[in-house]
Amino acid sequence: MADDDIRTREFVTPATSSSPVAEAVADGIAPSIRTDGLVPDVPASDGDVPSAALAADAPVTAPPRRGFREMLPRRSGKLVVGLVLTIGIVLFAVIAPFVTQDPWNYDNPVFEPPSAAHLLGTNNLGADLFAQLAEGAAGSLTVGLVAGAIAVVLSLFFGIVAGYVGGWTDEGLSLVTNVMLVIPGLPLVIVIASYMESRSMWIIAVVLGLTSWAGSAIVLRSQAKSLRSRDYVAASRVAGEKPLRIITVEILPNLLPLLAAQFLFAVVLAILAEAGLSYLGLGPSGAITWGTMLNQASQHNAFTIGAWWWFVPPGLMIALFGCGLSLINFSIDEIINPKLRTAPAAVKSVRQARKAQVRGEGAHPAPAQDAPVDGDDTGGNALEKERVNA
């Protein structure tokens, strides 16, 4: 594997040289990172396969030597909506449980439609569903966050260490990554979940985290490999810096937006997976999540008797939260790949200009970037979801 670096460098270097950095900077955006997508890449079987190959030759331009603020998403309608949804739901999960009834209090009349006393009505046992929704929000978000965090940490380890260290370490770690990738996720989780005697929320979160990191590890690995051949990394190495320091100081900051995107995506996936598990009766025991609420609703046939106040809110919350995070992801994607933002804006301005009968000079003002194939979140997104919902 020793010759691998050379190959990688050969691939990446020419691509980078043509990067019109100045243009991007003029655009007001850190020309920081050009990654190959925000989501765990197409979980192709190995780094060798095309998606990863595509990822590997996606150029990584000069490192961002500027403030973190530069990397923050810029305001856009999508971002605002995303943030509002996400923060709103998180606040709901944090605050609402303090102001609602005890979600395990069965003293209310049963199957009450929404009213002033019970904002979302009651279920078959008389539990207040607004209280359950709040408690469920806390549960689902906890599962999502813990699983997402575990997935990101693992993918960091397996991806970056493999990509940076190379050699046999890389071989070994990549093998593990790829095995994890091709073993179908949800079926595995189902088998493991049925194996566990007690399933607390935490255990479910850990299992989901442990089985969902492989996709992003592959993306990170190719990024790390590519970054490792950058001049400034080579310089640090020559300067005698320790690998750990190089990884944390030189490489990690460049991967932050990508990591953030992957974390958000992992959170959504974990929440969806938890809901699926719960529906099958393999969810956390003794805790309320949106998934267990849906499970209860379907067990008691809320769907056929029309108790919409029982089954609509939890599903909608999952969808809205996922939507919020996806929109944030979308905005992160726009930083990673400025074309996504500038191009539509440009088209828009052209159109407006035409409307104003002014012949604008920027008929095609989008900064022509170099990346041949960029932003490959397609497969990843759909595929990961498929695996989760499988």
């Binding site: 060798d48 093998l175 393999l282 999952i318």
Partner: protein, 331 residues
């Protein structure tokens, strides 16, 4: 050739790991399968002494040998194509159960995957082409669709279209009242199967189309700002030609990679969805097996799923190695 040898080694190791996992996980499960089985049976109705005896005989045989012996025997049976006999669906061989379930899943989930890919890519190309216009408003909507839990959508579709409006059937892969003897090769049966597959397919398409759409849209936007597109436009090519021949083709490339992998996951099916619709596919078989601790069935299903995923990946590897020589070199 080194590339292919490495890939092959990888697949062999993965297969071994998956099969071993497959063997050990259920065996390390706590609780005695026999007790669990008996208790489940007792809950369903009277358990006659004769049945008690039968259960002992059914379970008793393989508890004597060590785990290692069982492991070897398992491999031996596998190599002979013997996946064992299901306990909960006794006396059906696991291979027969899977054989019956596979076509339903492959056709339904396969078609739905293809459909949602085609729709997603087409819509995505269009949305990307019309970037910066009102069409961008589709983006939030599709992220919402993308985040909807499959089974929730399925349950709502059933409640609305099957129970309340009675437009569609509630369960099954075909009309079992019309075909009480099972599948037959007639046009009526085929149309019944299509009719029964509509809602499940709709569920899959609705909830996965968003992902393809978004990815394709982003790729389109990136691609459309490439120099060669500018050149094409500058040459005065008709916009439609630029859209189809130049932009869409290139933008769809990464999606295709994702698509081929997702085809590999078709057999894993849509476990939860199949459960909701009582659809006679592989996913439901898996749930049944897990819930009833039917080891042989569980292992069989898991094996088939893993092998299909591996096969799809392997095929893709070969094809990509062929299409894109760089893939063979880039470790």
């Amino acid at each position: 050739m080194k590339y292919y040898a490495r890939r092959l080694t990888f697949y062999v190791i993965t297969l071994w790991a998956a099969i071993s996992l497959n063997f050990f996980i259920p065996r390390l499960m706590p609780g005695n399968a026999e007790d669990i089985f008996r208790a489940k049976m007792a809950r369903k109705g009277e358990l006659t002494p004769a049945m008690e005896k039968s259960i002992q005989l059914l379970f008793g045989s393989d508890d004597q040998s060590s785990l290692w012996d069982q492991y070897l025997r398992y491999w031996n049976n596998l190599l002979h194509g013997d996946l064992g006999t299901s306990i909960t669906k006794f006396p059906a061989p696991v291979s027969e159960l899977i054989g019956q379930a596979l076509p339903w899943t492959i056709v339904l989930v396969g078609l739905a995957t293809v459909l949602s890919f085609v729709i997603g890519i087409s819509l995505g190309a269009w949305v990307g082409w019309r970037r910066g216009t009102w069409v961008d408003g589709i983006i939030p909507a599709s992220t919402l669709l993308q985040s909807v839990p499959y089974f929730w959508l399925a349950l709502i579709l059933i409640a609305v279209f099957s129970v309340n409006l009675a437009w569609f059937p509630i369960i099954g892969g075909y009309d079992t009242f019309m075909f009480p003897d099972g599948p037959v090769a007639t046009w009526e049966f085929f149309s019944s199967a299509v009719y029964h597959g509509f809602l499940p397919a709709l569920t899959i398409v609705l909830s996965s189309v968003g992902g393809w759409l978004l990815g394709m849209r982003n790729m389109m936007v990136s691609t459309l700002s490439e120099d060669y597109i500018t050149t094409a436009e500058a040459k005065g090519l008709r916009p439609f030609r630029v859209l189809t021949t130049y932009a869409t083709r290139n933008a769809a490339l990464p999606s295709l990679a994702g698509f081929s992998v997702s085809l590999g996951f078709v057999v894993a099916g849509s476990i939860v969805m199949e459960q909701v619709f009582t659809y006679p596919g592989v996913g439901k078989l898996m749930i049944n097996a897990v819930q009833d601790k039917d080891f042989a069935l569980m292992q069989g299903v898991f094996l088939v799923i893993t092998v299909t995923v591996l096969a799809a990946n392997f095929l893709m590897d070969l094809l990509y190695g062929f299409i894109d020589p760089r893939a063979r070199h880039n470790g």
